[in-house]
C-alpha cells in the first residue's frame, strides 16, 4: 500500500470534518476522492500531505508512519486548485525549484526540468512567467513542479476546478494518459462524478466527513452502497419505492409482469436521447430512452404505459432507509 489512512478524525473548532476515516491507496493506482463540497475530501488530502494535522488516527506513506512528519519530509507532490505558482519565477525555475534546494548538479537539473516540461507540453514556455500562461498551462506547470522531486505519491486538490469546461475535459484525458506513463501513485479530489469515473481506477466517496463507499468506477456506479452514493454518481428516479437509474427502466404499452402503470406527462427530446416524464400514482418520475425507441412506441402525453426496472439492473429500496 502506498498510503494507509487509519481512523483519522479532524475537527475545525467544534465542527467535525473527518470522522473515523480509513482508506488504503494501492501503489501505482489513480484514486479519486469524490463527494459534495464540504464533505471533507480536501481536508483528507491535506492530512495525507501533512498540510493539516489529524486530531486522532495515523497516516502511513510507503509503510512509514508519517502522522507527525512535516510536509517537507513526506516526499509528496501536491497540486492546488489555484495553481500556487511561484509568481516571481519563470516556468523553468518553478519546476527546478525543488531540485535546486536538493543541491543537484546544474546539468542534471536542466535535463530533468526540460524532460518534465516536454511531458506537460510546456517546453516552449520555459522562460515565461506564470502570469503569461493560461490556466490550463499553469496547472500543467504545477504538475511538472510536483513531479520534479520524484514524489512517492502525487496529490491533486480539485486540479481542474478553476478551468473552463473544455480545458477541463482535455486535461482529464491527459492526466489519465500521464498516469499511464509515469505510474506514480496518485490521489485527486473532485466533486465531479463524471471526472472521477472517467479518470480514476478507484473511487472513494466521501460525505459529511465519512467514507460512504470505496470501489472501482463501475462498482460504485452499478452497485452503490446507499441512496446517497447512487444519487451522487448519476441520475436517479423513483419507481415503486425504489431508486432506479432512468436508463434502467423498461417502458411498454402492453401490460407486463411486475410493471406499474404510469401516465406520460411530457416528452423532452435531448439530441439522441429522449426524456419521458411520467406520473405514477401522483408521483413524478422519468425514464431515459433512445430516440428510435420513443418513435417506435409513438408515445404522446396522456398515454398510459407500463414501467418496471430492467431485470438485470440494480435498484435501491428507499423504504429500508
Amino acid at each position: 500500500m502506498a498510503i494507509e489512512v487509519r481512523d483519522v478524525n479532524k475537527s475545525f473548532g467544534t465542527t467535525p470534518v473527518l470522522r473515523d476515516v480509513s482508506i488504503d491507496v494501492e501503489s501505482g493506482s489513480l484514486t479519486a476522492l469524490l463527494g459534495p463540497s464540504g464533505g471533507g475530501k480536501s481536508t483528507l488530502l491535506r492530512v495525507i500531505a501533512g498540510l493539516e494535522q489529524p486530531d486522532t488516527g495515523t497516516v502511513m506513506i510507503s509503510g512509514v508512519d508519517a502522522t507527525r512528519l512535516s510536509p517537507q519530509r513526506r516526499n509528496v507532490g501536491f497540486v492546488f486548485q489555484h495553481y500556487a505558482a511561484f509568481k516571481h519565477l519563470s516556468v523553468f525555475r518553478n519546476v527546478a525549484f525543488g531540485l535546486e534546494i536538493r543541491k543537484r548538479p546544474k546539468d542534471e537539473i536542466r535535463k530533468r526540468v526540460m524532460e518534465l516540461l516536454e511531458l506537460v507540453h510546456l517546453e516552449k514556455m520555459a522562460d515565461r512567467y506564470p502570469s503569461q500562461l493560461s490556466g490550463g498551462q499553469r496547472q500543467r506547470m504545477a504538475l511538472a513542479r510536483a513531479l520534479a522531486v520524484e514524489p512517492e505519491v502525487l496529490l491533486l486538490d480539485e486540479p481542474f476546478g478553476a478551468l473552463d469546461a473544455q480545458v477541463r475535459k482535455e486535461l482529464r484525458t491527459w492526466l489519465r494518459r500521464l498516469h499511464d506513463e509515469v505510474h506514480v501513485t496518485t490521489v485527486f479530489v473532485t466533486h465531479d462524478q463524471e471526472e472521477a469515473i472517467e479518470v480514476a481506477d478507484t473511487i472513494v466517496v466521501l460525505a459529511n466527513g465519512a467514507v460512504e463507499q470505496v470501489g472501482s468506477p463501475a462498482e460504485v456506479y452499478d452497485n452503490p452502497a446507499n441512496p446517497f452514493v447512487m444519487r451522487f454518481l448519476g441520475p436517479v428516479t423513483e419507481i415503486g419505492g425504489s431508486l432506479v437509474r432512468p436508463h434502467d427502466i423498461e417502458i411498454s404499452t402492453t401490460p407486463t409482469e411486475g410493471a406499474t402503470e404510469a401516465t406520460v406527462s411530457r416528452i423532452v427530446r435531448l439530441g439522441f436521447e429522449v426524456r419521458v416524464e411520467l406520473e405514477i400514482a401522483g408521483q413524478e418520475a422519468w425514464v431515459q430512452v433512445t430516440r428510435g425507441f420513443a418513435e417506435r412506441l409513438a408515445l404522446q402525453p396522456g398515454d398510459t404505459v407500463n414501467v418496471r426496472p430492467n431485470p438485470g439492473s440494480r435498484s435501491l429500496a428507499l423504504s429500508a432507509v
Binding site: A84, A85, H88, F97, I101
Partner: protein, 326 residues
C-alpha cells in the same frame, strides 16, 4: 462648400459619392484646453520671473553656499543618518513582522506592543529621551542576563548624540517598517508556501526565496515613501545640535543673516536627494515587478526610443508613399 449633402431630395449613389469626396476633414478643436494651457503658462512665467528678478532670493549667495564644504558635510551626515535609520529600521522591522506572523502568542503580543508604543510617542520626544538616557542609567553593563557583568561602560560614553539619534530614528522607523513588511508578507498567497512545503523546502528558505522576493513588490513603494520621509525627517535631530543639513544651514544663517538663501540651499539639496531616490525606486520596483504583470512597463528611456522609432517608421512610410505615387 459646393456640394453639401442634400436633404429631402432624391440623391443617386453617384451624387452621394461626389458629396462625400468634396467634404474636407477637420480636426476636432479643443478651445478650453488651449485657454487653460495659456493661463497656466502665464502663471508659470510669473512665478519664474518672481524667483529670478527679486533680489531678496539672493541667488548669488545660494550658489556660493550650495557646494560649500560645511554644507556638503551636512548633506553627507543627513545621508548617513537616513541610511542607518532605514537599514537598521527595516532589519528590526522585518524581525518584528516575523514575530507578528509567528504562532507564538508571546512573540505576537510583544511585537504588537512595540509597534503600538513606538508609533504612539512623537519622534522628537523619543530622540530627546535617548539623548538623556544617562539620567536614567549612569552605566550600562554587558554580561549574562541577571548574572555577572563582563564589563560595563558609562552611558554617556556609549550613547553620544550621534548614537542616540541613530537609535531614536531606528526604533521609530522599525515600528513603521514592521507594518510595511507585514503587509508585504500578507500580500503573498499562503498556497505558495504550502506548495513549497510539499516540495520539501524548509521554512527559512521559503521566507527568503519565495515570501520576501514577492513581498518586496508591495513593500518597495511604501518603503520608498518612508525613505523619502526619513531624508527630511532627519532634520528633527537638529534639536540635538547634530550637524545635519537643516541644523547646518541654521548655523550659517545665524552667522551671515541670509535666512532665505540658506533655506533655499537646504531645500535644493532635499529636492535633489528625493529626486535620486524616486528614480531609484522606479527601477527597484521594476526589478521586483517581474512576473506580476504580463509585461513590464517600459522605462522612460525605452519609451523615448519607442516614440522615436514610431516617428522614424512613419516618416519612412511617407517617403515610400511619395515615391510610389509618382
Amino acid at each position: 462648400m459646393s456640394a453639401a449633402p442634400v436633404l429631402g431630395g432624391t440623391v443617386t449613389a453617384d451624387e452621394a459619392d461626389e458629396a462625400a469626396e468634396s467634404l474636407t476633414i477637420v480636426k476636432a478643436r479643443h478651445p478650453w484646453r488651449w485657454i487653460a494651457s495659456a493661463v497656466v503658462l502665464v502663471l508659470l512665467a510669473m512665478a519664474v520671473n518672481a524667483l529670478i528678478t527679486n533680489p531678496a532670493w539672493d541667488w548669488a549667495i545660494v550658489g556660493e553656499y550650495l557646494f560649500a564644504p560645511s554644507v556638503l558635510e551636512a548633506v553627507a551626515f543627513t545621508i548617513q543618518l537616513t541610511v542607518l535609520g532605514i537599514v537598521l529600521g527595516f532589519l528590526l522591522g522585518t524581525v518584528l513582522a516575523l514575530m507578528r506572523l509567528s504562532r507564538s502568542p508571546l512573540l505576537v503580543s510583544v511585537a504588537w506592543s512595540y509597534v503600538w508604543l513606538f508609533r504612539s510617542v512623537p519622534l522628537i520626544l523619543q530622540l530627546l529621551f535617548w539623548y538623556n538616557l544617562a539620567i536614567l542609567y549612569r552605566r550600562i553593563s554587558f554580561g549574562v542576563p541577571f548574572g555577572p557583568a563582563l564589563f560595563d561602560i558609562g552611558t554617556m560614553d556609549l550613547i553620544g548624540p550621534v548614537t542616540a539619534a541613530v537609535i531614536g530614528l531606528t526604533l521609530h522607523q522599525a515600528a513603521y517598517a514592521a507594518e510595511i513588511v507585514r503587509s508585504g508578507f500578507l500580500s503573498v498567497d499562503q498556497g505558495q508556501l504550502e506548495a513549497a512545503s510539499a516540495l520539501g523546502i524548509p521554512r527559512t528558505r521559503q521566507l527568503f526565496r519565495i515570501l520576501l522576493p514577492q513581498a518586496m513588490r508591495t513593500i518597495v513603494p511604501t518603503a520608498g515613501n518612508e525613505i523619502i520621509g526619513l531624508v527630511k525627517g532627519t532634520s528633527v535631530v537638529y534639536i540635538m545640535a547634530l550637524p545635519e543639513l537643516f541644523y547646518q544651514v541654521q548655523v550659517i544663517y545665524n552667522r551671515n543673516g541670509r535666512v532665505i538663501a540658506m533655506l533655499l540651499v537646504a531645500a535644493i539639496w532635499y529636492l535633489l536627494l528625493t529626486t535620486v531616490l524616486s528614480v531609484a525606486q522606479y527601477y527597484v520596483e521594476r526589478r521586483f515587478g517581474r512576473g506580476a504583470a504580463r509585461a513590464l512597463p517600459p522605462t522612460p528611456l525605452q519609451r523615448v526610443r519607442g516614440v522615436l522609432a514610431v516617428r522614424r517608421a512613419a516618416r519612412d512610410q511617407r517617403l515610400v508613399d511619395l515615391g510610389g505615387g509618382r
